[in-house]
Symmetry: C2
Subunit: 462 residues, 2 copies
Amino acid sequence: MEDWEKLIEKRDLIVSVVGIGRIGLPTALMISNEGFKTYGIDTDLSLVEKVNAGGGDPPITYIIDEPELESLLKKVIINRKLKATTNFRNYTSQSNLIILCIPTAITEQKVPDYSVINEVLKEIGQLKEKLAKKIVIFESTVGPNYVEKIAIPLIEKVSELKINKDFWVASCPERANPGNIIKNLNSIPRIVGASNNYARNIVSYFYKTAFKVNIFEVSNPRTANSVKLIENIFRVVNIAFANEISQLMRKFDIDYMEVLKGAATKYNFLTHYPGPGVGGPCLPSNPYYLIDEGYKVSFTPNLLRVATEVNQSQPFHIIELIFEGLNKINKPIANTKIAILGISYKANVKDVQISSVIPILSELQKNNAILGIYDPYYKEEEILGFKIEKNYEFIKRVYSIIIIHTDHNEFKSQNFKDFLRECKDLKVIVDCHNTYEYEEIPNNIYYIGVGRPMKYINRKNN
Amino acid sequence: MEDWEKLIEKRDLIVSVVGIGRIGLPTALMISNEGFKTYGIDTDLSLVEKVNAGGGDPPITYIIDEPELESLLKKVIINRKLKATTNFRNYTSQSNLIILCIPTAITEQKVPDYSVINEVLKEIGQLKEKLAKKIVIFESTVGPNYVEKIAIPLIEKVSELKINKDFWVASCPERANPGNIIKNLNSIPRIVGASNNYARNIVSYFYKTAFKVNIFEVSNPRTANSVKLIENIFRVVNIAFANEISQLMRKFDIDYMEVLKGAATKYNFLTHYPGPGVGGPCLPSNPYYLIDEGYKVSFTPNLLRVATEVNQSQPFHIIELIFEGLNKINKPIANTKIAILGISYKANVKDVQISSVIPILSELQKNNAILGIYDPYYKEEEILGFKIEKNYEFIKRVYSIIIIHTDHNEFKSQNFKDFLRECKDLKVIVDCHNTYEYEEIPNNIYYIGVGRPMKYINRKNN
C-alpha cells in the first residue's frame, strides 16, 4: 500500500481508461489533468485520432453537449499527459490501473449483454503475467454479481493468475449524468468496493486524489454495483409513478403539476415529473440488470417490472394526446403535418439512445403522418431514419400541431416563444414536459401538457 | 368575506369538529385553544364524557401516545372553549364551520367504505335551512372525486339547498402523522380547495389563524384530495420498492442497509427503509381510493396495485425469516416458544390498525407456535385475540427466538439491550426494522435483519 501511495502522490501511477465514450473520455481527461499519465483506449480509430489531435471536425460527439471538455482536452494533449490509442495490449500492460468504462447494453429481449465487456476481460486475461500487480476497476454498469461471479473467474481462467494474490479488482461505478458529467465527477462521492481491503484502500485513495471527491467504501463489488443500480432505479420507479398517476389525474380533470406543487409542501415528499417516458444510457436499462439476476434466483421483482413497463408505454400515451389534440381540430393523423421538436432523450444533450421519441416517431409514421423534425443538436443530420430540419422555421409552413418532445433550452427561449406567436396555422401544442406555463402559450391554441387537462387558450385582447 | 374575517379575528366564529378521534380531537383542541368556541361531536358517549371531564381512566386512547394533548385538553375544558357532545343536530346548527374528521376505511375487498361519512352528510343535509351560510370542510381522506361527485350532490339533495348559493364546501385534508400530530398540525402547510373562491378564502384564513401554518391553495376539492393521497402513496410505492429490493439483495448476500447508505450519498436519492409491511390508518388504504376511482374510468393503476401487493406480502417474508432462523437452531415453528415484541403498526404509537403484526401472528398461530407477546403500549391488555405480557421478562423463560416487530424506543434502550444479554436461551433475533447495529447484538446469536444476510454474532472475549 505504501508503494501505491507514493506512486499516487508523485503522480507516477499510470492509468488506462478502456472505452473513451460519454463517461470514459471525461474520466480520462480529469485523471490526466490531475497529472497522471493516462491512456485512453478505444476500438474507434477516428475517435482516437480526434482525441490525439485535441479535437476535430465534426467535433467529438460527447464534447458537443459538454463544451468544458474541449479546453481540458487541448490542455492534456499539449501536456502529453493523455494519449489515445487502439493498442489495448501494449498500453494496458504498462499501466497500474485498468479502468473499464465500456458500455453494457441490454438486448431487445431486455437481457444484459455482457459480450463486449467479456471480450475486454479476455484481453485483460491474455496479458498473463503482465497483469500481475495491477488493479482492474469496473466503472461500467453491471448486475450486482457480475464482477464477482463472472468477471473475476473469467480473468483468472484466461490469465492463470489468482485474484488478491496476483491482481485485484474493484467496482467504482460512475454516477455522472450526461450534461453535467464534469460537475458530477467533481462532486458526487464515489462508491468503492473491491476484491479485498488492500485494493479498496488503493482505489479509494486514487479516486480521492484524481477527482477530489469523498469516497464511500462498501464491503465488496456487489454492494457497490447495487448502489449504482438502486439510485437510478429509484428514479425509474418514481418517474413511473408520476407517469401513471398523471394519466389518471387528467382523466379526472385534475392538473398533476398542481398536485405536485401541493405535495412538495410536505417535508417527506420528493417531486418527480411525468414526461414522454425514460431514455438514455441508464434509466431504461438499469432495472433489467436486477430483474435478470432476480430471475436467476427465482425471484421476480414485480414492482420493477411494472415500473419499466409503465415508462415504456408512456410514448403511446403521448400518441393518445396527439390524437386528442388533432380531434379538436378535426384532423386525422394520416397526411397531417406534425412537427416534432427535440429528439434527444433529455434536455440539452446530444443523445438519442433509447429516446422515447423513437416509438413516437414510429407510431406517427405508421399512421402516415407527414413529419417535420427539429432538434438543435442534430441540425440537418440524418438520424433515426429521418432528416432533421436546420431550424424551426419550417413550422410556419402550415403545421397545425407541434409536439415538444425534449425540453431543450432553445424551446424555452423568448425567441422561440415569440416565433410560436407568428405561426398562424398552429392550433395544437402537445407539451411532453410541461415546458410552458399557460400564460406563455399563444392565443387560440389547444394546449395539452402531460398530466394536465387539455386547455383552450383564449385570452381577450391578445 | 369581510363578515367572516371579522368573525375569525374576533374569535366569534363557532366550529363543529365531527369525529374526535386521532385527528379530530387534536384538531378540536388546537382550534379551541386559539379561542374559538368549538364543539367536538362524536357518537362514542364514553369518549365525549372523558373529553368533557378533561380526561379519564383509562385515559383517552389517542392521548396515550401524544401526552402533550392532556394539558391542552384540561386547559380548553376549564376555559369552556371546548365542549364535546353526541348531539349532532343541535351543535352543528349553531356552528359556522362543520369540519369532518371522520375515518373513511376500506373494506376487506379493498374498496373505500364511505357509508359512515355519507350518513353524516345526510344529517348535515337534514339541517335544511339551518345549513344556510355554513361551510362544510372535509379533512377526512377520500377519493379525489368524492367531494364533488358524491358529497355535494348528496347534501344538496337532502337539504334542498344549492352549493355556492346557500352553503359551501371545502377540502382541507389532514396531513399529520400519528405520534407527531400536534407538531405536524402546527407546521405542515395546509392544502385548501373549495367549491368556489369565496369559500376558499374563508377556509384558508381560518386555518392560517387557528393553526398558524402556511396555506397552499388549489383549484378545487379534487386537487386538494389528490395532494393528500399522492404524498402518502409516494411513501407506499417507495417502501414497496425498499421491501422488494431488500428481499432480492439478501438473496445475493448483500446488506441493503449498506446499499442505502451508499445511495444516500447521491443528491437526488431519498431513503426509504424496508420493514415488515405498512400499517395504520393511511398507507395501507390510501392507494385504494385512487385504484377504486381508476377502475371507474377503466384505468388500472398497475404500479399502485403491485406496490400495495408487495407491502401486503412483506409479513409473509418475515415468516420466511423466522423459518430461516429456527432452521439454524433445528427447531420447527410448531410448539416452539416465539416472542413477539411490538404490535403497533409503527414505533411509539398505540395503534394496531392494519398492523403488519396481524398476518404474522395469524401465520405463527396457524403453525402452532407458542406465542409470547409484549408491547409497552398494550401491557396486560387483551388485543387481537391475545393477552399481552406485562413486561418483557417472560423472554427469559426459555424463549430461543424473538421477533422485534415494532421499533418502539423501549426496544432500543440500554436497559433492553442489557436484558437481552441475560437471556441465556436466546439464539435467534429477527429484527423487522434493523433496529440494531451488529455490535449491539448479544454474542452467539443468529441475527436476521430485514434486507440483511443472516449473521451469526460470534465475538471473541465476549
